[in-house]
Symmetry: C2
Subunit: 252 residues, 2 copies
Amino acid sequence: MNERSEIIALSDPQTEGETRRSADSSERAYNTIRKLLVEFKLKPEERINEVQLSRSLGVSRTPIREALNRLASEGFVSLTPNRGFFVRSLSTEGLLDLYELRTIIECAAFRLMCQRAEDDQIERLRAYWTAIVEGYQDHPPDVILAEDEGFHLLIAELSGNPELVHQLSSINARIRFIRRIQIEHRTHDKAQVSSHSAIVEAAMNRDIERGVELLRNHIEMTVSATQQALKDALLKVFAPGDASSKTRRRRA
Amino acid sequence: MNERSEIIALSDPQTEGETRRSADSSERAYNTIRKLLVEFKLKPEERINEVQLSRSLGVSRTPIREALNRLASEGFVSLTPNRGFFVRSLSTEGLLDLYELRTIIECAAFRLMCQRAEDDQIERLRAYWTAIVEGYQDHPPDVILAEDEGFHLLIAELSGNPELVHQLSSINARIRFIRRIQIEHRTHDKAQVSSHSAIVEAAMNRDIERGVELLRNHIEMTVSATQQALKDALLKVFAPGDASSKTRRRRA
DNA sequence: CGTCAAGAAAGTGTCGACACTATTGCGTTC
DNA sequence: GAACGCAATAGTGTCGACACTTTCTTGACG
């Protein structure tokens, strides 16, 4: 029984018993597949079988392919002509590059925010943070992650440049899987909290240099933990006993 | 005869008379449609008719849709559920945001290049520029544009971060249409040339601050010209007599 | 005359099928 | 027994068709 017969329900289960095709299964396929990627249900370097996926999700291959194309331009998967889609690899360098890009975007966003945002907008940032800071460390990992991303996204929004928001969202999605693992480790929660508070303070003082410095440290701090998290991720993904030789190929 | 019956040949015309479907028409559709967008054959805000396009390109709707999905995640077009794809609007703010993002990426790339690149890599940059500087101003606009993009992309490559290359490529593609118009105006060729030379020099001296400053000016210089270019673009696109009221909608 | 509604037309979203390509397994040859 | 090639299988790329949604047209009603 090689056929993986488990049915992965689409995020939004269709409430109707009728077969009538209703809404936008392409969008749902996108969300579902992205989740599979984030959660390592689809493993790095693995070839994605469209037919199998379409059976699992209960839709035809068309919406699957549309979703995969989107995911390809976002960097989640890659497309090799006539061979299909492959899950993005889980290389350390790739991740570090992504973190570096994130730092660049965030620092620039902070700078622009300080230069452009009105006081009441900065106040929104402060309010956002104080609203969640209380129970921050006690929240479940997913919530912490969402709150953290929300904080940084808000800075991007306050920069006044929607492109920055878009870029940051995209980057966040791609590093989310590893961040979640990091957060589960609970390595430096306290440092995170004080970082955020300090960033808010710098924003209120419009102190660009300090804010940029804080952000840089804030992100680089997590980068150091990424190395360890990656090892754990690899262990978690290629379960013990799973001879990963199938995916271990020569690399140019 | 409302049906626009002109056949737009795909970039790579099929040499065989036989109808047999050969290679990757999705990729070709992507390139062709992107060119149509860049050249304003498809006008801003316009709704894209998939059937019409597929007839023009001589392929079915499937590869058209795949191409459009890719173009959507790259920001060339937008997708409204059940209504289809629309050409990205030609708003000034949007373009300025993009230029701003470009400045951010490029300055960061320069910084990283100075910190990381070997001397012989910097030499490659110098060589690239000296190789093209001679006839630079006499080249046709498309060539100038390609050479300029190549120069900046090379800096991104030398930063050692492939993500920066990818981002910059994507940005370039999106602002290419307006840059081409700018270049056709031939406003400040000489300034461009000397900018590039100065940037190379700063790179060889590993003078980050100077290089960043040069880049910032270099790009912002073109931004000022963008305003004018945009007006021209609008005129060019919505030909005289074409009552553009159809596309002129209220904006929030 | 303008407004609105119902029907017609146009267009998108998804499907199943088929052509072509890559991969796997098997038999042949040395 | 190993390397090679060939057939069988699995999988992607594209197509034409159809269901559903939006948009346009037309005609009734105020």
